[in-house]
Symmetry: C2
Subunit: 352 residues, 2 copies
């Protein structure tokens, strides 16, 4: 066993502080794709998506099969846009909200790429990009695809009420995004050409944070403490301040969760109010589209990163962001047995 | 994007062949723990477990809470046996069979360690140990805990029939093991003392393999093709033969799946019949304990590795093994919608 103070590493170590890894050769996001449903396509970010599909089953027989088809298209599009073939992709890391990851499994199996299946609820995009960057930077692969998805129909069916029931939703509720985002993460060793791509320069893996919330219609309140925890730790590990980022972007806290996040961090002496943006707030016009607190789901921050966010980095509007996908570890079984709903979030620094 | 032939790497690269990573400084399994239920404790491997618990809820209120308590005890025991504290563990990687990984989530949250949640069905032990080894060998952490679990009650409830229904099970069916195995994987850089521990010297991440099987009472037939695929690829990537291993150990194929595996590999010119062993066959006395084809579940190979297998490596009986946890990506939703059940497996070389 190795007993060391991780805060006290040599300059050559990628370990930074308690939870962060900083890459010497930061992997690049050389390609990405976003496939979304009709409602997302009618939202304010519609011009940034690769495909908008009007059919909620994506031409298949069920919402679940539709989600898999959406994943398949996202992976296929991201690989095609990279100029690579599927044989060049060494691993695929990904997951979704559905039990046993059926969205991902049936979406990616035809590619014949070794698969690392992940579950981090709506934080999965951050978990997948973190692992992809870690594995690429370590020299275990030249190219890895990270993918995640969510689907309004399949998620509501699994977690809440039959859609036909038409239950009323409180204003704290969010709307699960129908969308899949895929990213090709590639090695940058000794390649100047990689300067034209956004790079993942560090990642901070988050803890499970449980404030005892049991309201499954207020996921923002569940996830905000986990987001606050990982943002605070990331800034501390990297000895950075919020104003060193152009944006600090959370996954799907929505309006309610975003307010809690800002207050929690302010109570701990960190003010991110000038930099903070939430993908769940941006993805829908909450008033016109009746989505209450905003969008949510693994796909929410994945398609927003693949589209709106990285486009703003490509065109130089933002040079350095902190990207923080947030997840509520909701299960109907544990929830119905009276357990709390814990949260988790991971934080990646992306620079261009 | 980086277009390279992965088979044609320099000597310093950890990449071996198409799917394998070989470590220059192989991480050590410095500590492990196995916590099991009563029936496993009555099986032939009973003397190798750390704890045998007679209460199926492990003193809690439900099978699910019991599974989490089992996970908590496994992680706590593994950390304690290593001489480390939880503050020395940089990441925890793990997962289980339950939707949204509630076995793991509620079992590990009190440790306050950053969590990477995995889903690979019963292959999760291989996925977790692979990632732990990859992250440690890359210098991202000195110590990582990999944990996985399964519970007969919670798994039957989720995937099959109410236990009270007392359904008859075909002879191809396996019995989900109630057990949790946890492992502390540590860096071995420049430490001769590490020679006293088993080391993970390579890992081969597997593909999703789907032979179109739809019988959820014959998981062995689902997983055997995935096991054959990854074993074949691992041997090819490392240019090794079966007789270079003392044992080639699959996760939970059971008797039926083991026969299929040996035939599939023999059809491809590889004979592992002299080396093959299956944790699902070993863990129960299938005749006396009425477990039909054998044991299964994430916990099956995890507790067998932590107990019986690594003890046989500690005492020099086996010097090099190929450990191949196998998973059937079964979901009641996709299954009831008429989909097939794909398989996946990962292969680790462990040497002592």
């Amino acid at each position: 066993m190795t007993k060391t103070n991780s805060n006290n590493k040599s300059a050559s170590s990628p370990i930074q502080g308690k939870q962060t890894v900083k890459f010497h050769n930061p992997p690049a996001i050389v390609s990405r794709a976003s496939i979304v449903g009709q409602m997302e396509g009618e939202g304010p970010l519609s011009s940034f998506y690769d495909q908008i599909e009007a059919d909620p089953t994506f031409g298949m027989n069920s919402w679940e099969e539709g989600e898999s088809e959406m994943v398949r298209r996202a992976v296929q599009t991201a690989i095609s846009k990279s100029g690579l073939t599927k044989e060049d992709i060494r691993y695929l890391v990904g997951g979704d909200l559905l039990g046993q990851l059926i969205g991902t499994t049936f979406g990616v199996k035809s590619f014949n790429i070794p698969v690392i299946g992940l579950y981090g609820a709506c934080s999965t995009c951050g978990e997948g990009l973190s692992l992809a960057a870690m594995l690429v930077a370590a020299g275990y692969a030249d190219n890895i695809v990270a993918v995640t998805s969510s689907h309004y129909g399949s998620a509501e069916k699994q977690f809440r009420f039959p859609l036909e029931y038409g239950n009323q939703r409180p204003l704290s509720a969010t709307w699960t995004v129908t969308g899949s985002g895929a990213f090709v993460v590639s090695s940058t060793n000794n390649k100047n050409a990689m300067n034209c791509y956004p790079r993942i320069t560090s990642t901070t893996i988050g803890k499970i944070v449980d404030y005892g919330v049991t309201d499954n219609m207020n996921m923002g309140a569940i996830m905000a403490p986990a987001a606050a925890d990982v943002i605070y730790q990331c800034l501390d590990d990297l000895s950075m301040k919020p104003d060193q980022f152009d944006k600090i972007i959370t996954g799907d806290l929505g309006k309610v969760g975003s307010q809690i996040l800002i207050k929690l961090l302010r109570d701990n002496g960190v003010d991110i109010s000038n930099q903070h943006m939430d993908c769940g707030v941006e993805i829908f016009d909450c008033e016109k589209q009746d989505t209450h607190s905003g969008g949510s789901g693994c796909g929410c921050c994945a398609v927003t990163l693949a589209g709106y966010i990285l486009t703003n980095m490509d065109n130089g509007t933002w040079k350095r962001i902190l990207f923080v996908p947030t997840g509520a570890l909701l299960s109907t079984v544990s929830y119905n047995e009276g357990q709390t709903i814990p949260g988790i979030a991971h934080a990646l620094v992306i620079e261009h």
